[in-house]
Structures are given as C-alpha cells and as structure tokens.
Symmetry: C2
Subunit: 187 residues, 2 copies
DNA sequence: ATGTGCATGTAACTGGTTACATGATTCG
DNA sequence: CGAATCATGTAACCAGTTACATGCACAT
C-alpha cells in the first residue's frame, strides 16, 4: 500500500485534488510509474474515512467544483511513521524517489542523514554488482553482461548525484528551521 | 503478466530451475525487484501447461532431483512476439532492463535498433524533465527540485551508457557467448 | 540433534489495473 | 457543433505477495 503514503506525502506539501496528483506524477512515469485513477480515487476515499485527510469542494469561479484534499495532523503522524521505517529499510529506486518528493517534510538534518544512508546502500550494491563478474564458474552471456553494465552505470550515477547533492544541500537549508534537539528525524 | 515473459526469456538462454531464476534476479532486486516464489512457481506450471516450456527432473548424483525447465519452439515464438511489442512501446526502466537480459535473443542488428530506439526515448524524457523547471507559474519546493535533479541524473547516465554501448557493440563480431570475468568490458 | 540453506509447492489475500460510466468545460 | 481535456468515480478482474507447509542435504 505505497500509493497511500505517496498521496499523503503530496498532500503534506499542499492541498491538492486527485487529478493534480496524477498529472504531477505523470512526469516521472518512466522511472516509477504513476498510479491509475482506479487506485487513486479509492485510496483518497479510504484516507478520508480514516481521518487522515479532509475534503473541500472548491468551485473555482462558476466552474464545476474540484475536490481539494488536505492532510490532517493524524495523517502527518502516519506519514512520519512511514518515512522513518523507509529510511532504515533497503529501499528500491522507486521508494527512494518517493522519499525525495517528500524532502520538504524532513528536517534539514534528517534529510542529510537519509541521503547518507542511501549513499552507503548504493555503494554496497555497486560493489555487489561489480563482484558478480568475478564468479569464474558462471559464464556471462551478452544479456547478463549488458544488464550488469547498465546497473553499474545507474548506481554510479546515483552515487554521483548523492555526493553533489549532499555537498549542495547544507548551503540551501540554512534559512530553514533549526534542528530539533532530541534528534528526531522529522520536523 | 510480465513475470511470464521474463521467465521465458531466461529459459531461452539456458535451461534452469525456478530457484536458479530467483537467485539470479536477486542481484537486481534494487532496480527492478524480483518475483517471489509464490508467483514464480505457479507461472512455471502455467507455462508448462501451455506448452511453452518442458520439464525434466534431473537428480544430480544421488541428490534430490531438481526440476529443470527448457523453452520450446512455441515458447520462443511467444517470447519473440513480446519483445517486438516491447521495443515499440514506451518502456519503463524495469521493462528495459528486462529486455537487456534478453539481448541474446535479439539479432545483432535488432539489438542495436532496440538500443537506438531507447536512446530517443531517454532523450525525450530528459528534455521533458529539464523543461519542467521553466514553468514559472508553478513553484518548485525542495522535494520536487531534488526529484527532478535525480531523474535528470539517471536519464543522463542511461544516455551515456547507451552511447558507449552502441559504440562498443558492433565490434563484438559474433553474438552469444561473449567474455567472462573482467569488468572493463563495458567501460 | 539441531539448525541453516536448498528446493518446491499451495492458499488466502490485496493492491492496483483495465474498462467502463458520467458530466462539465474549453477549443477549433 | 463536435472533439478533446478536465475531473471524478465504480466494478471486475488478476498479478503478485505473504504466509505457510514440506522435505532433503550438509554442517556444527
């Protein structure tokens, strides 16, 4: 049920309609895929029933009203919980990109920790893939060879991006809120 | 039903057991995920029922027999059909990596065409993502900014890999069993 | 002898898709 | 005026996961 938390995350940024969320995600369709309306709207209804979001039908100047959803405090708590568990798990590319979208809900320090954690994961995977050629008993055909090279390239690119972002980020987050004293990851 | 064709593709390389396929795919778990046994074995049974594969219980030196599956001619035809349709569709990263695994089932010329087609797709997506900053009416928060940069980095890396592979591939005279061992192959 | 890895399998569940239905609005 | 886009929704269906069950082999 990852769509649930993903929606929750978008709504934590600003109130949106279901259609807005879909349209926004379409841009990253190739990387992570975007949920269909057939899953989006029911999830929205479920979130509403659970009290994690609220609706408001806003008629924009004589137009047909759009249903704008807003996250509640309970919703924020649930989202925070999910992010915490995501940070420690060995996340897929999809899950990580999701967490990136929600960067705004992290504290500055928490975000940096999150990226650093991801960095060690990527390094591990890159090393594992590189080693996979060393197994001499197992022959690699063209397909395995290409797939391995592709994976290595993606991992290397993500590592480079993480490094440059981790370098750039501290300068950006200075004007933001001060880190919480108790070491909590999230704002 | 992508697992079906994926399995078919692996079996087109060489006969394997279900366990073999799972173990092999685990390496790329972070990129594309690997199917669980709960889906793997039933699919294998279905393929068998449809006559796309055959089984042979091979007892390795007094050990308990393993079920080795082999692809049939009908299976090869189905796989080819799937690959054809995949090549023209706007494939996700996952589907593309799948097709890479099956590079051996392409003709040399067909593989190059496939990669070139992918290349234009990646260029388009990169351009689309880059443009998404230009929209002045829509403000980008930190999360959208990071996600966009991440997507751009991945796309750029894939493009670079495609270029170098397309450059390297034609020199590889004859198809199938290529090199084993050293990782400098795809550099 | 007991635990861990190999190896195969099944049943229940569910998250998500496909396909369909509706209506209002905007554009050529 | 008709087509396309915006916008929301429902129901059937299915792929794939989780959880469980089985049994052999091998090491500690």
């Amino acid at each position: 049920m990852s769509v649930r938390y993903f929606i929750l995350g978008f709504l934590s940024q600003k109130p949106m309609s279901g259609y807005d969320i879909k349209r926004f995600l379409a841009r990253f369709n190739w990387l992570i895929g975007s949920p269909s309306f057939g899953s989006l709207y029911p999830v929205l209804h479920a979130l509403l029933k659970d009290g994690l979001v609220t609706v408001e039908a806003i008629p924009p100047e004589g137009k047909r009203p759009r249903k704008i959803y807003s996250i509640t405090e309970a919703g924020r708590a649930v989202l925070r919980e999910w992010l915490d568990q995501l940070a420690v798990s060995d996340a897929s590319l999809k899950a990580f990109l999701m967490s990136l979208f929600l960067a705004g809900t992290f504290s500055p320090a928490g975000l940096i920790t999150h990226l650093q954690h991801r960095r060690t994961q990527v390094i591990d995977r890159h090393a594992a893939l590189e080693q996979s050629a060393g197994a001499p008993d197992e022959e690699m055909d063209l397909g395995q060879c290409l797939a391995r090279g592709y994976g290595l390239a993606i991992a290397a690119a993500e590592l480079a991006w993480l490094d440059s972002t981790l370098d750039w980020l501290p300068q950006q987050s200075l004007p933001m809120e001060v880190v919480q004293g108790d070491g909590a990851l999230l704002r």
